[in-house]
């Protein structure tokens, strides 16, 4: 039982991946890739979910996936055109499918009304083309395991039908032959491949099996048989044309050949005998049209292959007799994937098919066997090999319980600390740098670092897992706000540690909502401004300077600065006469209690907006900033460390305490001369750093480790950049060195401490605190500064 649950859990994991693939594929379709491998991938994703769901008896999911799949099959075969409206419907259908999967996973109920509506919509799309072409014969030929007819009674009779699923009228009689041909006998063209015999199947037994269904007439075709001297006894050369009584169902005939699927060419048609010759001629002709063969190979089911061969045959030697008796001919003509056969039959048939048929090289040796070899290429492999320009084939991966990796990371963290302790002990004993112990320790350090990097790389994941949830969010919010919007995503494969990934989702969600709700104008306003009605929201991820940067941009109206100012003044956030730069005005939206939406909407704007985002980002050691151009839009930029587990830091002494300053914040460290410190006002001073003046912040004073600041010239200065791009000179007593430290949370056992980002354990086993640079710089301003009364008036606005 547990084992089954485990397999089921794996299935749901796969479902997540498949749903991701599905959405990616649909988005590519939205961009115009409406045929070929993209559509196949989309179809396969839904098909795989349906298949797995069937194995676990998840009936509701199967039924829904089936309706979805049927429509996709129509799109895949080119019978239904993938117009933008359809793709959008498919995207929504994918959302509903995701809900269904979630419902199946949690054992809960999905929204029955929503599902029923979606089913109806999908069916309408399917029916919209419905009668054109030859129905779904292609799908049935290709997937003998999938029998629509067996579904109809089950669905009709089932009381467990929880979303009013109405079986589509796909009965086998509906497609294929017109009613007049109802009683016409079946013509079965059966051409075994060598592999059929290799797998110990026997053509004679199959024919005998066929005979049990009703009276048959059999005719053998030995045209392909080579002269006796050239004959390879292990090759298959013969094919059969069998007439089966018209009363037999096609499904029954297919069933006879069920176990040799893929090992033979099989064609079941209603009609008389005239088409036998064309059929065989087609097969042979196809082998002479090498261009058509790989084309057929790319298609992922047997039926399309056969049709492709037929199409190639038609193109190369048109046979008028083919059209009349063979009802599938129009389908073949419609299939766009096979509509470009080589017009001139190539005389040298062997080479090309052989290259395609790597799976069965022996079969490709002989001319007549070539199509067989092509047909042998397994469906799953064919698209993978043909998928140039599409995403790379799946890499081999292993699934590991994340807890195991976390444990490994903890252990490596301890190893790093231990190694540092060892190094410190050795240093205390005063070994010469060239001694073997010190050199050995250096090597150990390198190895430790290598292990750490390696382990962290295991846990690194592409941000895709977060990004792929966003298109749905955008669709839903766009629907709610009535502002059509398109999401462009970039850099989904940017990798970042799992600890960061898990916490990216919330700020991104919030920023996207904000972009749609507040950033984009209404369609009318957009048109008036000469922009397309549909807004564009851009979500991008990239690596920059050892951090991950997430950008959320919109092409809306930009920040309405006068309005923002007005609101901030009204709410008492700034003084009415405060002089602020544009940038400062933009940053007002991060203040707590600020909301620009005139009406509080459901989506965002409860006044907990951006300041919450900012705080949660800061808690991760990140920064958020905004840039905006009136009329052109705004971009929020979020920058986060790549991992929350380790950090490169500068270890400094401050008033007898050991502190770590994150290296990412430090621009440079310097030892200023006394006259670089320029007094400003009665008490204040700034530091001159190459023609620019930066405020001086004594870390010890801000953190309360000492009362009187030391002069920058008496210590060392770390020039840091804070989140808003402003610089500050942090004053410390001395620098101990640069070290990679393992981040330990203070919150786990205590709580967040202002000015302190986290803690770490140093080589001597003691805890050292990691400075939150932005907070320390910010705290300096708010300091009750009796020594600097000027500050109070300067910053009264805050």
């Amino acid at each position: 039982m547990d084992e089954l649950e485990e397999i089921k859990a794996t299935f749901f994991q796969e479902c997540d991946e498949l749903l991701g693939d599905l959405e990616q594929g649909l988005l590519r379709m939205e961009e115009g890739a409406t045929h070929g491998e993209t559509v196949n991938a989309v179809f396969r994703a839904v098909h795989s979910i349906k298949g797995g769901a069937g194995a676990f008896g998840l009936d509701a999911l199967v039924r829904y996936a089936h309706v979805f799949e049927t429509l996709l099959d129509g799109v895949r075969s080119g019978k239904i055109e993938a117009v933008p409206d359809l793709v959008r419907a498919l995207l929504r259908a994918a959302d509903v499918l995701a809900d269904q999967v979630t419902a199946a996973r949690t054992g809960g109920e999905s929204d029955a009304g929503e599902t029923a509506a979606m089913v109806a919509e999908l069916e309408a799309w399917t029916a919209g083309e419905g009668h054109a072409g030859g129905g779904d014969a292609a799908a049935d030929d290709g997937e003998p395991d999938f029998k629509p007819i067996s579904l109809a009674p089950a669905a009709a009779g089932g009381d467990d039908d929880d979303f009013g699923f109405k079986p589509m009228s796909i009965s086998l009689d509906d497609f294929g032959a017109p009613p007049a041909a109802e009683a016409a006998e079946w013509t079965v063209v059966f051409k075994p491949a060598t592999s059929l015999y290799a797998k110990a199947n026997e053509a004679g037994l199959l024919l005998r099996e066929l005979e049990r269904l009703g009276p048959i007439q059999t005719q053998v075709n030995d045209e392909a048989l080579p002269p006796f001297d050239d004959l390879d006894p292990e090759q298959a050369y013969l094919s059969w044309i069998v007439k089966v009584d018209g009363a037999v169902t096609e499904a029954a005939i297919q069933e006879v050949f069920e176990f040799v699927d893929g090992d033979c060419e099989l064609k079941v048609t209603r009609g008389g005998g005239e088409d036998q010759a064309p059929d065989l001629a087609a097969l042979i002709a196809a082998s002479q049209a090498p261009e058509a063969a790989p084309e057929a190979d790319a298609a992922d089911d047997g039926a399309t292959r056969v049709e492709a061969l037929l199409a190639a045959a038609q193109a190369s030697e048109p046979l008028p007799s083919l059209d009349a008796p063979a009802p599938e001919a129009p389908v073949v003509m419609d299939a766009p994937a096979v509509a470009e056969p080589e017009p001139e039959p190539e005389p040298e048939p062997v080479i090309e098919p052989m290259a395609v048929a790597e799976v069965a090289p022996p079969a490709a040796q002989d001319r007549p066997a070539a199509p067989v070899a092509v047909a042998k290429a397994q469906p799953a492999q064919a698209p993978a090999r043909q998928g140039a320009g599409e995403p790379a084939a799946a890499q081999s991966t292993i699934r590991v319980d994340p807890e195991r990796i976390d444990r490994l990371i903890d252990l490596v963290g301890e190893l790093v600390i231990n190694q540092a302790m060892l190094a410190q002990r050795v240093a205390e004993h005063g070994f010469a740098p060239s001694s073997s112990i010190v050199m050995g320790l250096d090597e150990l350090e390198q190895l430790t670092r290598g292990i750490q990097d390696g382990v962290m790389a295991i846990r690194a994941q592409p941000v895709k897992s977060v990004f792929q949830r966003m298109p749905r969010l955008v669709r839903e919010v766009a629907g709610m706000t009535g502002k059509p919007a398109r999401l462009i995503m970039e850099g989904e494969n940017t990798e970042v540690d799992k600890t960061v990934i898990e916490r990216l989702s919330e700020p991104i969600t919030h920023m996207l909502r904000n972009a749609l709700d507040h950033g984009l104008e209404s369609p009318e306003a957009r048109r008036a401004a000469g922009k397309p009605a549909e807004g564009v929201v851009r979500l991008a991820a990239l690596h920059r300077g050892g951090r991950i940067v997430i950008e959320v941009g919109d092409d809306g109206g930009g920040i309405n600065r006068p309005k923002v100012r007005q609101i901030a003044t009204d709410k008492g956030l700034i003084a009415a006469d405060a002089v602020l730069t544009d940038e400062e005005v933009d940053n007002l939206i991060f203040l707590p209690g600020f909301s620009t939406a005139s009406t509080v909407s459901d989506i965002s704007g409860r006044g907990v907006g951006m300041d919450v985002v900012r705080r949660s980002v800061q808690a991760l050691g990140g920064r958020i900033s905004i840039s905006s151009r009136p009329g052109e839009g705004s971009t929020f930029t979020l920058s986060l460390p790549l991992t929350l587990a380790v950090l490169d830091g500068m270890v400094v002494d401050v008033a007898g305490h050991t502190l770590v300053v994150p290296l990412s914040a430090i621009i440079e460290s310097l030892r200023p001369k006394r006259d670089d410190v320029r007094p400003l006002g009665p008490q204040g001073a700034v530091l001159a750093v190459r023609e620019t003046y930066v405020p001086i912040v004594d870390i010890g004073c801000v953190l309360g480790f000492r009362d009187a600041a030391i002069g920058p010239a008496d210590g060392v200065v770390l020039l840091v950049e804070s989140e808003d791009g402003g610089r500050a000179a942090l004053v410390a007593d001395a620098i101990q060195g640069q070290r990679q430290v393992v981040i330990k949370s203070l919150e786990a056992n205590y709580k967040q401490v202002e000015g302190i980002a986290a803690a770490t354990i140093l080589g001597d086993g003691r805890v050292a605190l990691i400075v939150d640079v932005d907070a320390v710089v910010g705290m300096r301003r708010r300091e009750p500064a009796p020594a600097r009364p000027a500050d109070q008036t300067l910053y009264a606005a805050e």
């Binding site: 903890d410 953190l703 203070l746 056992n749 000015g755 803690a759 805890v767």
Partner: protein, 155 residues
């Protein structure tokens, strides 16, 4: 932990008693994770005086609280004889700095007396009740009230 504890009738409890400033206090033994010697703590900025700082407890960062100062007594002067009692409060670990561990008591719930009204509010806030044992008065500390701000954060 719980399966190792001796099977006591539900009303019987074991307590660890310790000294602060010549007074005796105790905590429930089920909250105690370990007892260790004093090692210098790294002070935290922006925290109340009774938080002495943090120490490294096998890779975890453990805050140390001076229990004496927390309940209004003069601050403890840590010495080599000082002891840190590591207790678990909710999901968090905390180290209590005390002068010395004195005893392990087994009592039944009914011998615990309510804190008399004469005690000041601060004492009443942190003392759950009084136990009289062989002429000694031992006060039971209400651990969950020691860090009220942490409690509200965890909620």
């Amino acid at each position: 932990m719980s399966e190792l504890a001796p099977q006591l009738p539900p009303e019987r409890r074991e307590l660890i008693a310790f000294c602060i400033d010549d007074q005796e206090y105790c905590v429930d033994i089920m909250s105690v994770r370990e007892i260790r010697g004093w090692s210098p703590a790294t002070p935290l900025p922006q925290t109340p005086d009774y938080i002495r700082g943090v120490i490294n407890l096998r890779g975890a960062v453990l805050p140390i609280m001076d229990l004496a100062e927390r309940i209004g007594l003069p601050p403890t002067q840590p010495s080599v004889r000082s002891v840190i009692i590591v207790v678990k409060v909710g999901e968090r670990l905390m180290g209590l700095l005390v002068d010395a561990v004195s005893d392990i008591l087994t009592i039944s719930e009914d011998v615990i007396q309510a804190t008399p009204d004469v005690a000041c509010d601060r004492v009443k806030a942190f003392v759950r009740g009084l136990i009289s044992m062989e002429g000694r008065m031992i006060s039971e500390i209400a651990l969950e009230r020691l860090l009220p701000d942490v409690e509200s954060l965890a909620a």
